[in-house]
């Protein structure tokens, strides 16, 4: 039930992100999520593509330093406390959240959240048992 995210190492220089998006666009690959963790010298571009395997193959061929990471995706009602409840569950089980990001698809009353946690298997089992709606790559 986990979601695969791709991470690309990139120097913090003009034109770098464009190189990546152009490489994907040329092959007709659609991005579903995109976020960047940055430092002064470099950044890590994290994203999920509609066709992740193809995106991985294309970028590898183009010589990008790329890694795959397993995330947990959940869908919660778009209302106060909905996310807090889930975070509370993870915290109570002593599972650390390394990072997360959300994306809201317009005209739908739920929010989709992606988590990178310290123990993916345990978190998945926990959230499933608690009846949290989990996303897989197709739902994205």
């Amino acid at each position: 039930m986990s979601v695969k995210q791709l991470s690309v190492f990139m120097e913090n220089k003009p034109g770098r992100l464009n190189k990546l998006t152009t490489a994907l666009g040329k092959e007709g690959i659609d991005l579903v999520t995109l976020s960047i963790a940055d430092t002064k010298d470099y950044g890590i571009v994290r994203f999920i593509a509609r066709d992740n395997q193809k995106a991985y193959d294309v970028l590898k061929r183009e010589g990008f330093a790329i890694e795959r990471t397993e995330l947990i995706g959940i869908e919660v009602p778009d209302q106060p406390n909905a996310l807090a409840d889930v975070i509370g569950l993870l915290e109570a089980a002593d599972i650390n959240i390394e990072y997360l990001y959300s994306f809201v698809v317009t005209a739908i009353d739920t929010a989709k959240i992606l988590f990178k946690v310290s123990d993916t298997a345990a978190a998945l089992e926990l959230l499933q048992n608690k009846g949290i709606k989990l996303l897989d790559e197709k739902i994205l």
């Binding site: 430092t39 890590i44 330093a65 990471t69």
Partner: protein, 438 residues
Amino acid sequence: MNEIKDYFFSPKYECMDRAEREKLQGERLVELVKRVYENVPVYRAKMDAAGLKPEDVHGLEDLKKLPFTTKQDLRNNYPFGMLCDKKEDIVRLHASSGTTGKLTVVGYSQHDLDIWQECICRALAMAGVTQKDTVHVSYGYGLFTGGLGLHDGATKMGCTVVPASSGNTKRQLTLLKDFGADVIACTPSYAIYLATELENNGMKKEDLNLRVGIFGAEPWSDQMREEIERDLGITAFDIYGLSEISGPGVAMECKYKHGSHVQEDFFYPEIIDPVTLEPLPYGETGELVFTTLTKTGQPLIRYRTRDITSLNIDKCPCGRTTVRMNKVLGRDDDMLIIRGVNVFPSQIETAIMNVSGVAPHYMIYVDRVDNLDVMEIQIEVNEQTTADTVGKMEELRKKIASEIQSYLGVSAKIKLVEPNTIPRSEGKAVRVVDKRKI
């Protein structure tokens, strides 16, 4: 890993009793000194200045009286001032490019080419290569000694030689595959490049028939060897040489890989203290010096190689009695002095590999800011070292920085850069850019 079936090409000389060899070396030295005194004005002047006549040299024990030869001597006497044979007896010219100044030219007589080929044959036999094998030579052909040296030696042995020369990696891979080469000879950094290009060209190491690699012309680390052996599925040997003495084959590793056997019946090695110029005993580290005992075209006496290493006369399990030189720590002139600490690029490479476990592409930039030396090392991130969080990348960066600090005793700024941003070399790798104005 395949088993290496090595053999002696010239057992009489390779396994000679040490005392007997020293006698032979002494006799050859006496002849050499006479020859250069009579025919090379530079040596006559050097010996006259030292108050030495050829009659004063009776054997090896007198070697230390003789003057040194430096690269500068070769440059000052460019192009033919150091020849001993007549120009018409020179059958080959090789030259190496210096980073500054003139080319260093070396003239070979037919006799010199013959002993060079003999050395390559001994080296190939040490690696278990026979005349049944196909040898793919990816050293550059031309003035550089690597290509033609391996080419002539392997031809003399009777191998099938593929004179691929350097460049056009895609074609090299096709030739390696289609011709089924058993042996490849190139620089170690090019071997690593070939291994990475295998995958990019849709090939696997199993598509190749390679068994042995003969790598030289630049210092390399044990980790690089492990990586090459693993990624190409071969046994990798270090071959040593320098154009001034005889190109590759001056020394070669046997399968025990514990130093390279010097072909000392032709090339007599000494280790000296590079500051006091006094000879050092076996086992001590210093500058390697060679005397070409039998050459006739352009023989050299006590030539200072600038290579820093040590010599080992312990008995080798392979049965050869020749002295072994340990891995070259770096060329004296590749050596960087950073805030007073001697640093060799090979040590930096080892430190990086200790952390990341792979041979990365890297470049060392040295500069002087406010009278202080600063070193920045750019390292390419690759498939193995990239991660999804800044935390993990920073951890890698800090680990490399602290490994370098503890390994070399000098700090460096580590900068992670994208793949394929550091220029690739197909000859000698350029690892250092020194921007200091001193």
